[in-house]
């Protein structure tokens, strides 16, 4: 039997054994998750009441016995914040007592763990691993600039430090084995009643509240509740940039881009927003995914003005070659950058960065359009790409045998 024949038979056999249950898949695809990361912090006054009642009940239940009390006493509070905020209360032996999703995004993350109930009784590192896994699966930690913050709050500073170290290495481990590239931020906190109050009122974790306070210390004219709605990544960058003003937020940035593109009426257009508050000028990078391609917009983070991107996509879509036209005149200084150009080319070629060598990247002006020329070699092949420096669109690509 020839190799080819053997492979064909193998493919045929697998075809027979592969599941064929479309309806089973579709039945699990009801709730559509948005790609724009929402920060819905519904302010409910009820919540504080229910938690007060719950706290009273808990105190009553805990009266049962000293042993029981100790095992169920909260020793540390660990919070994980990306955009979903999740709080874990842990006893002295690092077992999870309660796992609480603090916002709507967090509920989605914990959905397949019975809203966090499944994690009760688990060792802290196992629980954190499961949560980070779910964050990765839900795409929260994909981008190189995304950030996850781990905060440990404990009266005992030494124990907080120890937990902190363990968790950081656990999270690093998960991130390394998956393809996530997020930064891990950490902090240890001592308990603070005022901060706890602020956190509860805004449905965020105390860890995130501490980060918000750090930004507020830089610019007292900003508002706590508005800052609480930003993601950890935005807050971190804002703090690093000295908090010059209030960013408009991802939702507003996506909306500004859609308005500029004239696609607000189309349900099929989805947006992916990446905050770049640490760049100058600070901006949001909005990618609109449309039926006829992908378009990138840069939106000023403080004014909401669209800095670059293609206007009125609907009009442009009817003319052929719309995607390869230069995007906008004003983006001389706005471009995707070397690193992005490189990753676009590698991604397209299906070559990972460590397999590529003789990498050359040049910014060039082609008839008024700025393009990146990316050239590299890998696996006996030579690749060359021309990439629109404003939109990231591949204008030309070639692969030939390296001789």
């Amino acid at each position: 039997m020839t190799n080819e024949k053997m492979e064909q038979r193998l493919a045929a056999a697998l075809e027979k054994t592969a599941p064929d249950d479309v309806s089973g898949v579709l039945s699990r695809c009801e709730a559509r998750k948005g790609t724009v990361i929402n920060m819905k912090t519904k302010k409910t006054t009820k919540r504080s009441w229910t938690s007060l009642i719950a706290a009273c009940l808990a105190v009553m239940l805990l009266g049962g016995g000293l042993f029981y009390q100790r095992a169920n006493a909260v020793a540390s509070v660990v919070s994980l914040d990306v955009n979903p905020s999740i709080e874990l209360k842990v006893n002295r032996s690092e077992k999870v007592l309660v796992c609480t999703p603090l916002n709507e995004d967090a509920k989605a993350i914990l959905a397949d763990m019975s809203n966090g109930a499944d994690l009760k009784g688990a060792k802290l590192d196992v629980a954190v691993n499961a949560i980070v896994g779910s964050l990765v699966r839900n795409g929260y930690l994909d981008s190189i600039s995304s950030a996850i913050m781990i905060s440990v709050e404990d009266k005992d500073a030494a124990r907080a430090e120890k937990l902190q170290r363990e968790l950081t290495s656990a999270v690093d481990g998960v991130l390394q084995t998956s393809e996530a590239k997020a930064a891990v931020l950490t902090q240890t906190l001592t308990q603070d009643a005022a901060r706890e109050q602020q956190a509860r009122e805004n449905n965020i974790s105390t860890g995130k509240a501490a980060l918000v306070n750090r930004v507020l210390a830089l610019n007292a004219t900003l508002k706590f509740d508005a800052l609480a709605k930003l993601s950890v990544e935005e807050l971190k960058d804002l703090a690093e940039a000295g908090a010059p003003a209030m960013p408009i937020g991802k939702d507003a940035a996506a909306y500004a881009a859609e308005q500029y593109a004239g696609t607000t009426a189309l349900d099929s257009v989805t947006a992916e927003v990446d905050p770049e508050l640490d760049e100058s000028p600070a901006h949001y990078e909005v990618e609109l995914h449309t039926a006829w391609g992908e378009f990138e917009y840069l939106v000023d983070a403080y004014t909401g003005k669209v800095l670059s991107g293609q206007k009125d996509l609907l009009a442009a879509a009817s003319t052929p070659n719309a995607t390869t036209k230069p995007a906008a005149p004003s983006e001389a200084a706005q471009n995707i950058g070397h690193a992005k150009a490189k990753s676009i080319a590698l991604n397209h070629a299906g070559v990972s960065e460590n397999e590529a060598y003789d990498m050359e990247i040049e910014l060039d002006d082609e008839d008024g359009t700025l393009v990146y020329e990316v050239e590299f070699k890998s696996g006996g092949m030579e690749y060359s790409y021309e990439i629109n420096a404003a939109s990231g669109a591949i204008l030309k690509h070639e692969a030939e045998i390296d001789d």
């Binding site: 054994t17 898949v25 699966r137 299906g350 030939e400």
Partner: protein, 191 residues
Amino acid sequence: MLSMLMTTEYAPAEERRELRQLLLRVAGGDRDALAELYQRTRSAVYGLALSYLKNAHDAQDLTQDVYVQVWDCAAQYRSTGSPMGWLLTICRNLCLMRLRREERHAALSEEEWDAIPAQECGLNADERTLLQGALASLADEERRIVLLHAVTGMKHREIAALLELPLPTVLSKYHRALKKMRIFLEGDDAR
């Protein structure tokens, strides 16, 4: 330029364009597109899942999870990348995550290769021998490479990128694996 021009993808450009189109429609919430994508790619996804999880039942479960995840994350697909590569990367990540989770719960001893599903699926005797016997004679990675090559039509270079292995490793494992399978099916003189 004397050198030959090559496409950078495993599949004919047409198929790649169609899969890409399907993913974009899935991103827009089109359920029919998901159903079609499933039909066209399920054996490839299943084959990769089977190579990691080593038993038909778990691989079937995981295949379903992959498409649920595709539904949730289709908007993150970059239309410059290979659609099949993207799909299989999701599959691989889910497999690795599941294996890690199982490792934590119980230190499973080397699991037996069990590629025949419990329910009837119309396999003939030859196919059973191939799927169960011949593949069982391979090491994990050899099996994975052969399955990917047979079911997805991916090139070795793309398989290397997906599995994060050097290309020469993939090539040598692939050839060794096919030889082992032939020996299993046809006896020692198959060399």
